[in-house]
Amino acid sequence: MTKYGGYCGKILRINLSSGKITKEDLSDSLLRKFLGGNGLGISYLFNEVKKGVDPLSEENKILIFTGPLNGTVFPSTSKIGVFTKSPLTNGFTDSYAGGHFAAELKFAGYDGIIIEGKSEKPVYIYIHNENIEIRDASKIWGKINSDTKSEILNELNDHQVRVASIGPSGEKLVNYANINFDGTHWAGRGGNGSVMGSKKLKAIAVRGTGCNINIADKEKFEQLITDYYKKIKENKTLSEVLSKYGTTTATRANNSMGILGTRNWQTEVFKGIEGISAEAIDEKLYEKALACFSCPIRCMHYSEIKEGPYIGTRNIGPQYETVYSLGSLCCNSNSNIIAKGNEICNEMGIDTISTGVSIAFLMECFEKGLLKEEDLDGLSLNFGNEESFIKMVEKISQNEGIGKFAAKGVKIMSEEIGKGSEKFAIHMKGYELAGHSVRGYKGMSLGYATSPRGGSHQDMRHLPERSGEFDRTNCEGKAKLVFDVNSTTAIRDSFTYCTMIEGVVGRVGIDSKHVDLINAVTGIGYTVEELQKVSERIYNLERCFNVREGKDRKDDTLPSRFMNEPIPEGPSKGMVTTKKELDTMLDEYYQIRGWNTNGIPTKEKLDSLDLQEAAKEVL
């Protein structure tokens, strides 16, 4: 138990091999040191999943953690974190999902869940306040995510249960299969769904009514809520644009700057932009704005395809990243095709980003004659071939035919094909690139190269450069920028709050706003310096996890395309991040971080962060 507000003070440990279920206390010292969410996730993962563990073996674990802000009424605090060793990268991966699951788990009385071992038969876990059961899932094994949820809700006869599930893709161990939450959100990236599938765990169902979330300083907290609601109402993007268009306004915005990933990033201007713009998606697809727990921004949308071969298809989204990966990247200019691809990925449970990037890679292989129709199950996999594209999405989701090859991800595919395809395999550390340009932002170049999970746009953020606040064409000062943004993203993922209010809380560096918020909820009494240390502790421990797996400076790199091929056209024509530029930024970044020139944390740095045990293991 804990004296701090916001937390339940307890986690669940469930061993699927032995069936043993234990409730463990979270000590005040652990909470002060690691905070929640991301912090607790890496703390447990580093200690319990050791070097060389096969991600799909019994020894890997799935950790699910909330933070002290989840289940409170502070705006946009719905995110729950999933932490594991990734089958895609063989390194650390974290992924965060919105919805109502995080809050429900807190109301049930738990800050997190550790899942270890492996079940012989398909099972699902049911958590209802004090009562935990491991139940037979043979009837739902093989079902898509929304059907899985419906079946469980019917079986438990309670329509307010929240369900986290894998679809058939996780069961079939697609390298980038993911975990669905509430039928409407996804801890999308890194292959956590396959880890769950390898344990024969189909779902986790939660119903929570027994635990009240306490706030340390109620008066201050009430004032903060009033302040933030005011800021949200005054911000047009947060109060109007997101609820109308979701994040899809980014498509045209990026295209206008000449940094929209197109044709496997051969170029960054898409001629078919009108068909996939925010306006097109709003008109053709979006039906209603919906929201995560406690969020007044309401950026998600229920959508329906109203014409064409996939008429009647219903689902959530698509949001920007999917419009990029299944749209411009594969040269699809029809938003209904994106929506159909999105639906397959969502229901089967695969990451839309890795799916799109993997297909775009194969499209370029086909274009260059490295692969022919007979290698691709007879598919003419041209860029923009809508029928072939949808068939590819289906095959990947089923992990069969050429889909079985694509399901491995672009790094492994390019290694197996060879013939220079490595040059256009768009990944960092095996994790496919998200929808924000590398060449178009010097800061993001460094951020992507150094992100612990890989080609993620969530450790370094593009917004400080896209807004013009920082000059995206210039390498100078970018090492410090990346360090500062990393500091706030680690805090964001530990409190937790959503990227949508990142700008309001503060995106570049930790300041009194972060401290006031966490102290009002928990009563911990952090200073800015101590909170800064927490965020560095989290980042360094993630780095140590990867170093222990053999990753170092050589892995902090970028796809050859972005270091050697300048953007060929458009407003950002000529931009490229050379190896020399990257090396200079890396040297500067490692120095700021307190790491050696090979990107390994020094003993001094780890000792200063109270990570002596990690230092002993890793150095």
Binding site: T72, T209, I225, I297
Partner: protein, 136 residues
């Protein structure tokens, strides 16, 4: 009289109304302590169901209450609840045709919407505009 009006088409299912109701009345957050309830419906939670006190002019809960803890206050415009007078019999819960009155699981007194004295917190924090106060 006054009551809350809920627009199903605008409701996004965020449940800020539940959280702020619980927090402002009870000082902690737990939807089970809220006087307003929103539940998800539909395969993709694309629609919601609400349970809201209708502040009835001829309220059944008032008729059922043996102690006068529940009263129709014409001047204020809603059905008031005085916690000190509540004996926890839950006759009001049985009587309400909307199932919109609940029992506090620990205190065993009624959880009854009081429109926060006229300026409901749920309405204030509902940025989609789904919740409003209306005269009827």
């Amino acid at each position: 009289m006054k009551k809350l009006k809920w627009d199903k088409k605008l409701c996004t299912g965020c449940r800020v109304c539940e959280s702020i109701c619980a927090f402002s009345h009870e000082g902690v957050i737990n939807p089970i302590l809220s006087r307003i309830r929103i539940a998800p419906l539909g395969k993709y939670e694309e629609t919601q169901k609400s349970t809201i006190c209708q502040q009835c002019k001829d309220a059944e809960c008032v008729k059922a209450c043996p102690t006068d803890a529940l009263k129709i206050d014409i001047k204020k415009g809603y059905v008031t609840f005085t916690e000190d007078d509540c004996i926890g019999c839950s006759a009001c819960v049985e009587a309400c045709p909307f199932s919109a009155i609940f029992m506090h699981p620990e205190k065993n007194t009624a959880l009854k919407c009081d429109l926060c004295g006229g300026f409901p917190k749920c309405v204030e924090h509902c940025l989609s505009g789904a919740l409003k106060v209306i005269e009827y």
